[in-house]
Amino acid sequence: MPYVGTRSTWLLLVPHKPKPTELDGNIELFCIKEGTVRRTYVWTALLLVLALVMAACGGTSGTTETTAAPNTTAAPGTTAASGTTAAPSGEMKTLKIGFTTSITGKYNTESTRQDNGLQLWMDDVNAAGGITLSDGTVLKFEAVSYDDESNKDRVQELYTKLATDDDADFLISPYSSGLTAASAVIAEQYGKVMITTGAASDSVYTQGYTGVYQVYTPSSRYLTSSVDLLGSLDPSAKKIAFVYENSNFSTGVAEAAKAYAESNGYEVVLYEGYDPDTQDFSAFINKIEASGPDAILGGGHFQDGSAFARQLYEKKIPVKFVSLLVAPPEPSFSELGDAAVGVAGPSQWEPLVKFTEDAAMAAGADWIGLTGDEFVAEYQAAYGEEPSYHAAGGYAAGLLLQYAIQKADSTDADAIKAALDATNLMTFFGDLKFDTSPDHHGLQIGHDMVVVQWQKADGGLQKQIVWPESGATAAPLYPLGQ
């Protein structure tokens, strides 16, 4: 068979046999008068430059109208005036919320749900007649969004476009900590308030930003509750294996959880990351088995987490407790069937979690928006699926913004920052409160995560809340029977 290494075809990049004139511009085989050449080249130069300029300008100016994603109901009749200056009383204003979603690439699923949740909030607030400020100004919202392709190449370009060309009044973060880190630079630079959702890493909030606020519980607190749960279930279980995805977010989670576990007297028998593209965990699982842990904590994202859970089950690993990131709270985790039974995981929000206005009052916090049941019903009606916590996070980001605007009674960025700094809010998503110290400004300190576990019920699978005890909907399944 042919062996291309010795063939010359690879070296021949020009498909036709090159003529001498092409190889060496110095050899002038064409007898054209100087004048002709000069004219031709002046014309070509002009044309090419013109084309380039048109390509450049045409592209930027021609696409600014890409607003209004399918579900937005930009109320007709509102004057689409934007800007942050105070308006005379009674005026209608449409505020633009700018963000990118990952329509393509690896974050597509989570990002789309986040976007759906945000759109739902926008529909709700607009349908309710918008926000009315004390001076009579009625505020409505519209979305401006672009595809970030799940990678960093254009995040800054798109956020700059959102902040300047599109003149977005507020920004929402992209999905994932990495993309958020890049967009935060831009938000901060233009003094825009950016609510981050789907970005759990702590590191973004140690960079010294003043206008970036986190909705999610930060990654340092993701798995600590699972450790607490294990402690309450079985004080004799002391060996933990940490197996986590080697990515920004999961490594951060694992590092914090490991430190927490060790300080609570646990023995970490295995602490190891796996490559983000890992699909086959068999080698890993053999290693886990050899280290003989009582509990396995870790995981990463949906794909690898569900693969890991399935292979743990198939290999019949005798372990008492498994808690994984991101994957278990997803409704589609139940596709794993029996392999899902008993697998626990931290969740930012669950349909079963009940936060109410009364609870808010009792806790001395403000309350805004709908209840969890209403959110689930609305989401199901709009998108035909059960909402995941990413969707809830998107909605909550919108609510938070709405709250801050109402509280500040203004659309001025500084007033809103002040309102956000002072936030003590409860929503269907849970508590929201921010760290205001300069070192961790914007870090979420109010919101707590719950731990869910898949259990068998009525012949099917059901996701139950097993921690904290006060909010539990079922007793934890422990130890796992294998």
Partner: protein
């Protein structure tokens, strides 16, 4: 570390290695016959995965039967891709075919993401596991390995026992001479591309029975296929199978001794080393 772990890891690695091998065979066959590095390899594997998933989930057919349908469709898809994207650039410099297959990659991923999103899907199918003392071999993994061996045997029977197979080898050996002998080279090239695609999609289907899948998952196996193909010698299908086994073993055994994240470093390091030291691969180039 004990012997049980070692054996268990080796067995797991070898079993998945067979499947890697089938995927890599598809890549190496196409390369051997027409000097095209098929950059749409990964997405084609992904189509195979979803073929089995969709048939199993919506028709309810046994995934191994679905595999047959996927293989036949694979042949057709391959021939189609050949005529759309490859045929016109088959005699152009190789960069052209790299880019034309890459454009097919973009199309498949683009449409695939729009329809399927990048979510993970699961073929909810399992076979009883095999328990022999310390080692637990999952049924689906064993079945996949057996089928992979069968596919390899069929491929060789085809290449050596049938007229079309002999034509393919002749074209691979020397296309111009083959044309002079009256072999319809275009048809044979299309057929070879079809079979390469069939192998890729079959491998994808097998993976779907073992592991969760998503539309981007093929990319991982594409990279693995590159490594395997170089290990086994470019253009050598049997070498690809053995290369697959070696890669599987590395993936199985290395984590026993060091952190798993070092596996890709070793894999690609080995890959570069083999290219430098013995570019013909561990088993040399197949003499037709």
């Amino acid at each position: 570390m004990n012997l049980d772990v070692l054996i268990a890891s080796a067995v797991d690695g070898l079993l998945i290695g067979f499947v890697y091998g089938v995927a890599a065979m598809g890549l190496t066959l196409i390369f051997g016959v027409m000097d095209v590095i098929n950059l749409a390899h990964g997405p084609l594997i992904a189509i195979g995965m979803f073929g089995v998933y969709e048939i199993f989930t919506y028709v309810g057919m046994n995934p191994y039967l679905a595999l047959i349908i996927v293989a036949v469709v694979g042949l057709a898809v391959g021939v189609l891709v050949y005529f759309v994207a490859v045929h016109r650039v088959i005699d152009a410099p190789p960069l052209s075919s790299l880019l034309s297959t890459f454009s097919v990659n973009m199309m498949i991923i683009g449409v695939g993401t729009a329809i399927l999103t990048t979510s993970a899907y699961n073929v909810d199918f399992s076979l009883p596991s095999l328990d022999t003392g310390p080692i637990t071999v999952t049924g689906t993994r064993l079945a996949a390995a057996l089928i992979a061996v069968g596919v390899t045997a069929l491929l060789y029977a085809f290449l050596y026992r049938t007229r079309s197979g002999k034509y393919i080898r002749a074209v691979a050996n020397n296309r111009q001479a083959a044309e002079l002998m009256g072999i319809p080279s275009t048809r044979i090239l299309a057929l070879a591309f079809g079979i390469g695609t069939m192998l890729a999609m079959t491998a994808g289907g097998l993976i779907a029975t073992i592991l969760p899948i998503n539309i981007l998952a093929g990319g991982t196996y594409e990279l693995k296929s590159f490594v395997i193909v170089v290990l086994g010698g470019l253009g050598n299908p049997l070498g690809a199978l053995v290369g697959g086994l070696i890669l599987g073993l590395i993936e199985g055994l290395v984590p026993v001794f060091m952190k798993t994240t070092w596996v890709p470093v070793l894999e690609f390091g080995l890959f570069i080393l083999i290219l430098l030291v013995m570019p013909q691969g561990l088993f040399g180039r197949k003499e037709s």
